[in-house]
Symmetry: C2
Subunit: 200 residues, 2 copies
DNA sequence: ATGGCGGCGTACGGTAGCGTATGGTAGAGT
DNA sequence: ACTCTACCATACGCTACCGTACGCCGCCAT
């Protein structure tokens, strides 16, 4: 056999670097994503790194692609739902992003968005992801019976809210923040056609 | 005369460093806030810096304080309004933060919040500012006649939205984003007691 | 005019990080 | 057993920083 010509284990290690890179990205931001730090975390030296990658930028590009593809897949999954379940799924969407759960995912989101402020190529990718998110969420609202304009504005509000929520330090807001969050979820999601037409 | 004992120009130069520091903070983030970079931008060497400041952390602390005080003052100013103008002021509040105008202020906000993720002391300050913002905004809603719970949730939604909005890259969303933003503003601000009780 | 000091420049040591060059090793193929 | 190569370590040069030590220069008061 030809030992699986192109990549028997090389490609797999590349992925290990990328996976760890995204981990560090979430914790330290793109500025803290250093080659030698990464190597230490992986228990190797940078001699390994420069075998797998041309340079640091090469890793950053790959990590960004992996992030984008993962986001696209996840968004598609989260918004592909059986008819009649759209309204419930919108609430689920908001919950999924609410920083308590999915903390790491949100940290990655924020790190990438901070990165995008200083790198136009990253901003382009983020823009693509945002557009896709917007499109999918709007589709959910449309299938709930809302007119295009309202479906659009609610979609934008939904994502702006969940991202903004994760930026705020709300732990000393007087009463239970959970109650407020629940009320806000209802504001963003409803009233939908289900509320308007469902006799129950 | 005693040549104006404490600070004839020294304190003023300290402020110059801090002002420039906040500028760089907005553009490059806290990780890009380097002493020697700052010195070059100010046309001096770091010999000057270490006369005015103990070390880099000293500058960071001061910059953070200046930011906090400026925020507190601005929030107080933006939410202190004549009776009957509350509803209008809420809309104005959203507009002021909408990233198009006040771009630099928002960049500083985002940079400080990113900073807060890796520095507990910064997170405490941000928490104070957020709590004050929340309190002031809620007061506006309350004076519009809304019950406490709704005033609270709308206040939280308002700030989460404006911060989240500034994180998103919306330039390729199909139709006019301005229209969507206007609709969202109306969702967050209204219906208020003015809409409910004003016969006009 | 001159001593003192505020304000800054210069020079230095030290660390962290990028990227390169080159050597070493273990395992697969023959 | 020999070799080849994927994979990694070591060592180096370079730059960008931080912080310190110290020297210079101009301004004010006496």
């Amino acid at each position: 056999m030809e030992t699986m010509p192109p990549r028997p284990r090389a490609q797999l290690d590349r992925d290990a670097w990328i996976t760890e890179a995204i981990e560090v990205l979430a914790a330290e931001g793109v500025a803290g994503l250093r080659v030698e730090v990464l190597a230490k975390r992986l228990g190797v030296t940078k001699g390994s790194f420069y075998w797998h990658f041309k340079d640091r930028q090469d890793l950053l590009n790959e990590a960004l692609k992996v992030w984008r593809d993962g986001r696209i897949r996840d968004i598609a999954k989260q918004t592909r739902v059986a008819p009649g379940e759209e309204a419930r799924q919108i609430l689920h969407l908001i919950e999924v992003y609410s920083a308590s759960r999915n903390r790491k995912g949100m940290l990655i989101e924020l790190a990438v968005r901070d990165w995008a402020k200083r790198d136009a190529a990253v901003a382009t990718i983020v823009s693509e992801v945002d557009a896709f998110r917007f499109k999918c969420a709007r589709e959910l609202f449309l299938r709930c019976g809302l007119p295009v304009r309202e479906a659009s504005s609610r979609s934008l509000l939904l994502y702006a809210y969940v991202f903004g929520q994760s930026l705020m330090v709300v732990d000393q807001f007087d009463q239970g923040v959970e109650t407020l969050r629940a009320d806000i979820m209802a504001m963003i999601a409803g009233p939908t056609s289900a509320d308007l037409s469902d006799p129950a």
